[in-house]
């Protein structure tokens, strides 16, 4: 095989194995930076050896063994230095032996959850949501700092610094680099799920732009959700999130019109929905219910998305069911945004008067002031109630609050549709 081809093949193998490798090494050396460095060293070794010896049958295990050997060498070297410098006798020697033993023992201890433990470490609650997302994309997604920066419309320096700080914070917190158990697992899993959903939405919310990397974020989040589902097959919330992401992603091709403006869910050309993604989403949702997740927030949100996915025509949408699901969701996840969506569902199910009543409650609470979608929804209800002049005023109010260029154009168009 030509060297160039071999190198490409080796780099691809490395890309596939990288996250698992770093996860296993981080557990061993308790330092993400060092783990990344050791993994990189293993790649260098592979690039020099594999062109002669050929790619081994189990390249992942080979890379792991090579990296662990480097870890032990490094450990011995550091201990030797320490000993030389300090000239301490037997006590330290004993300690040092234990260190090497521990690494060697861990080398045989393949429990196969390296990737999962790395996901939990990257999404550690000591980090801010942005830092978790950046670190997850770096470590598990294998994205470069530059790629992450472009995807989050940020500068490379900002993201690089965010990642460095995140790694330090994890080391300082004394993170175990392991999958948490019992009660802790519940809480930590929520953090993992919210990071994946944040990454998905970051890509999904971007309807256009010169950089294709933002939609790529959604694809990466989908992959993360699928990986997590493969690793945690008994967690209903994981399948709830997977279902939600699969179903939402089925609308990628339909959610922006030829004019580049967002298309409302009810106005989308459903022929453009990805039926295969919907099927995967519905299967994941069924599994989430089978595991007893009916009232889990992501499962409920996936149920909502599924109501739309099941309707072949917008008129077929089961709005009363959606309204009912929002009632439950508001109970377990009280938030003004959920309340607003609930108002929309009730408006569709039971008429604009009920919608206007619910939205009046939100307005009275003072929440969502300066949130463009509040007057936008009210404008829509008024439009449906045939109160065009009031609707127009609300759409204009919403437009004044909108900072998104496309959304602004959309709102102004709706205002024009109200007539004079």
């Amino acid at each position: 095989m030509a060297t160039r081809e071999t190198h490409q093949a080796i780099e691809t193998v490395f890309r596939i194995e990288r996250a698992r490798l770093i996860g296993g090494l981080a557990r061993l050396v308790r330092d993400i930076d060092l783990a990344e460095e050791l993994a990189q060293d293993a790649l260098v070794t592979a690039l020099s050896e594999w062109p002669q010896s050929g790619v081994p049958r189990n390249p992942g295990a080979w890379l792991m063994a090579a990296a662990k050997r480097r870890a032990i060498d490094g450990f011995r070297r550091r201990e030797m230095l320490k000993r030389k410098h300090a000239e301490i006798g037997r006590d330290l020697e004993d300690e040092q032996e234990t260190g090497v033993d521990a690494i060697e023992a861990a080398m045989d201890d393949d429990i196969g959850d390296e990737l999962l433990s790395l996901i939990f470490t990257a999404c550690h609650p000591v980090l801010s949501p942005e830092a978790r997302a950046a670190l997850t994309l770096r470590l598990i997604g294998g994205l470069t700092t530059d790629e992450i920066a472009r995807a989050f419309l940020s500068s490379e320096a900002t993201i690089a610094q965010r990642i460095v700080r995140a790694k330090k914070a994890i080391a300082k917190a004394g993170a175990a680099y392991e999958v948490p158990r019992g009660e802790e697992l519940r809480a930590r899993l929520q953090s993992v799920l919210s990071v994946i959903y944040l990454i998905f939405n970051e890509g999904y919310a971007a309807t256009s732009g010169p950089d294709l990397l933002r939609p790529a974020l959604s694809i990466e989040a989908q992959r993360l959700a699928r990986i997590l589902a493969g690793l945690m097959p008994d967690e209903p919330e994981v399948f709830g999130l997977l279902a939600l992401i699969e179903i939402q992603s089925s609308r990628f091709a339909a959610r922006v019109g030829a004019d580049g403006l967002p298309v409302l869910l009810t106005d989308q050309n459903r022929a453009k929905w990805d039926r295969l993604a919907i099927r995967r989403g519905l299967a994941a949702l069924e599994r989430a219910h089978g595991l007893g997740g009916a009232t889990a927030p992501y499962v409920l949100q996936a149920d909502l998305a599924a109501c739309h996915a099941r309707a072949l025509k917008a008129e077929d949408t089961d709005w009363p069911r959606i309204a009912g699901l929002y009632d439950t969701l508001l109970d377990i996840m009280p938030s003004p945004v959920v309340a607003l969506n609930r108002a929309v569902a009730h408006c569709m199910a039971f008429g604009p008067d009920i919608g206007l009543q619910l939205i009046a409650d939100i307005e009275a609470s003072g929440a969502l002031a300066n949130y463009a979608l509040l007057p936008a929804a009210k404008g829509d209800f008024l439009f449906r109630a045939n109160r065009r002049a009031e609707a127009k005023a609300k759409f204009e109010e919403a437009a004044a609050l909108s900072s998104n260029e496309k959304e602004l154009a959309f709102l102004l168009r709706r205002a024009v549709e109200c007539g004079d």
Binding site: Q8, A9, E11, T12, V13, R15, I16, L115, L212, I219, Q222, R223, L224, A225, R226, I227, A229, G230, L231, A253, G257, A258, D259, N269, A271, L276, R280, K313
Partner: protein
């Protein structure tokens, strides 16, 4: 990118010889790896072409042809749909697949068209026209 990974038929698969327990187990493990890597979107095995049918088109004419079909090497015995970062990753994963057949066999990888592949040929005007057509059709 999405790729379709196509398992080509062999004399054995066309003869309806079912895979051994060992192969089923190895395939099961492999599929599990694909799921855990987050790349598997779909995948199915197909009955031999003796249970299939072809419809030949010639202008307005439609002729139904019953299987089996002769050119075994051109037939397919199964497929996956994967989401991978690039072709090199797909190649690497296919190399890890257990030989799906008893004897020599072949797996083919074909990238799935994405909207961006149509490039400038799919102008906003054409997209809008398609949209209008679809709207008319759905009325």
């Amino acid at each position: 990118m999405r790729v379709m990974v196509i398992v080509k038929a062999t004399g054995d698969s066309e003869a309806g010889i079912m895979p051994s327990t060992e192969l089923l187990e190895a395939m099961g493990n492999y599929n599990e790896e694909l799921v855990k890597a987050g790349i598997m979107l779909a995948g199915e095995g197909l009955h031999p072409s003796s249970k299939g049918k072809r419809i030949a088109f010639d202008g307005p004419g439609r002729t139904v042809i019953d299987g089996p079909f002769a050119e075994t090497r051109e037939l397919i015995a199964g497929f996956w749909l994967w989401e991978v970062k690039d072709m090199a990753e797909a190649v690497e994963w296919v190399k890890r697949c257990p030989n799906p057949m008893l004897g020599p066999s072949e797996i083919e990888i074909r990238p799935v068209f994405e909207a961006a592949d149509f490039g400038e040929a799919l102008t906003p005007e054409i997209a809008a026209q398609e949209e209008r057509l679809r709207e008319q059709l759905s009325k």
